[in-house]
Amino acid sequence: MSSSAWPAWARQVRAVVALEWKKGFAGKRTGWILLLAALPVMLAAGHSLAMWRRGDWIHTVTGDSRTFAGLFQLAYLRFSIYLGCAVVFANLFRGDALDRTLHYYLLAPLRREVLVCAKFLAGLSALVPLFLGSVAASYLSLMAHFGPRFEEFLLEGEGLAHLGWYLVVTALASLGYGALFLVVGQIFANPMLPAAVLLVSESINAFLPPPLQKLSVVYYLKTLVPVKLPETGPLAVLAADLAPMPAWKAVLGVLLFSAALLACAAFRARRLEIRYEE
C-alpha cells in the first residue's frame, strides 16, 4: 500500500479532513455557503450583462477594475468570505459538540493540537477552492462585457497580476478569518453575535488605535489588494489604508496572526472537556 509510506499522524490528519468532508461541514447550512460564493458572481455577471445590452462605452477597463475592487472589498472580504468562515470554522468544534459527536475525535490517538490543525485544514480545503473559484469567476464575468479590450488588459496589461493578487488575498482572508472563527467558536456558545461585532471592528479598522489595528485580518489584506478604492464616497471607510506596507510584511502579518490564533485554539483544545448539555 502506498499510503503506508505516510507517517501515522499524517494519515490521521487526512482522516480528519476526509471525515469532515463526509459529514458535509456545515450540514444544512452548506447550501447557504454555496450561495455566499455564488452571489458576487451573479452580481458581476449581472453588471456585465447590463453593460453589454446597453452597449455602454463610457465604462473603461480601469473604471471597472475599480468596480471590482469595490465588489471584492465589500462582497467578498466583508460578506461572503467573512460569513463563510464564520459558519464553517466556528462550527468545527461547536457543531460537533452540539451533535454530541466531538468525543469520537478526542478518543483517537491524536494530539489535541494536531486535531485542531487538522480540522482547520479541513475547513480551508473546502472554503479556499470555493472562494478562489468564485473570485476568479466574478472577475472574469464582471469584465467580460469589454470583450477583446479586456482580453488585452488581462493578457498584456495588469489584469492577470490583479487577479493573482485577488486570489492571494482571498486565500489569506480564508486563513485569517478561519483561524479567528475557530477560536470564536470555541469560546462563544453563539458565535454570530461576536461575528457581527468583529465585522464592525474590522470595517472601522483604520480608525482604531494603531496597536489594535494590527490585531486584525483586514489591516494586512488592505495593502495587498491590487486596486485601491477611492478615498471618498460611500466606501471611504473601507478604503482608508493608513498603514501601507511592503507585500511580504503584509503576508507575514496574516500568517503570524493566524498562527497565534491557532496556537490559542490548540491551547483551548488541550483543556477541552466533554460536557454535552443534557
Binding site: 494519515r11 487526512r14 471525515l19 463526509k22 459529514k23 478518543l107 494530539r111 472537556e273 466533554i274
Partner: protein, 313 residues
Amino acid sequence: MSGGILFEDVSKFYGEVLGVNHVTLAIGPGVTSLVGPNGSGKTTLMNLMTGLVRPSRGQVSVLGISPEHPEQLFRRTGYATQYDAFPRGLTGYDFLYHCMRLHGAARAEAKRAAWEALRRVGLEEAAGRRIAAYSKGMRQRLKLAQALAHEPVVLVLDEPLNGLDPIARAQTLALLKELASQGRYVIVSSHILHELDRISDAIVLLDGGYIVAEGRIGEVREEVKDQPARFLIRASAARQLAAHLMEAGAADEVRLGASGDTAVVGTRSAEQMLLTLNRLAVELGADIETVAPVDADVESLYQYLVGAGGDFS
C-alpha cells in the same frame, strides 16, 4: 507492570456540582464493574480515565499513561461512551472505517478492522445502512464495535447493555468475558446490578460520587459481615422448620409460601442459620429438598450499602 488503571485521590467537580470525590482506586485485568444509581459518578470516572474530563484534584493513569496524552492512551484504550450520537449521514461501516482511519490505519487495514468489528458485534448485515435507521440496540453494538475495533488492551464501556434485548445482552456478556480472558482490562458500568455480577472479577460500588465498596466480589461481601441474607427453603415440613428457626433465634424474619412446603427465611448470620437448620431437620425428621440463597448476587449487598430500595432499571 505499569499498574493497570490508577486513581490517586481524584476529585471532579463540575462547577459546584460534585462528580466524584476522593477516589483512590486500582483496577486490574479482567472485568471490573462500576455499579451505582443515576448520578453516582460512573460516567465521570470513565471520562476521567479517558481524558474526556480532567480531574479537579488528584491523578489518573492508565497503564502508566496519563489521559493528557491521547496519542499514547488510545493506542491501547477503547471507550464506548453513554452518548447515543454518531456523525451525520454515515453508515455503520463508514463510521467504523473512519474511526480506524483516525487511528492511523492504512485503507486496507481500516477496512479489515471495520468488518472484523462489525462481525464481532453481529452487525454485518446492517453495515451498509445509515446509522440514523438503526435501532437503539444496534447503535449500542456499533459503539461497542468502535471501542474494540483497534484491539485495545483497556476497554471502557459505559452502560453497554442498555437497550439490548436478552439475546444481544447474553452475546455481549460472552464477548466481554472472552475479551477479559485474553488478559484485557474490561471496565463496564451499569445501574442494573445482577446483569454484571456473573461476569465480574471485581466490582466498584458508587453512590453520590463516593466509592462505597470495592474489590473482588467475595471480598466486598466479607467487608460487610452481618449483611442480611435470605434463603429459600423447600422441604416437607417447611412451616414447622421455619417456626423452629425463629424460636431458636436463627432467623429474623420468615415468609411462608402458599403451598406450605416453601419458606423464605431472613437472617443476619447465614452460617448459624444453616447449622441450626441441619440440626432441626434431623430432630424433626424433615425432608429438605433445597436451601438456596434468594439474593446471592450483588444486588442485595448493593441495596444494603446504598440503602436504596427497589429496582433501578
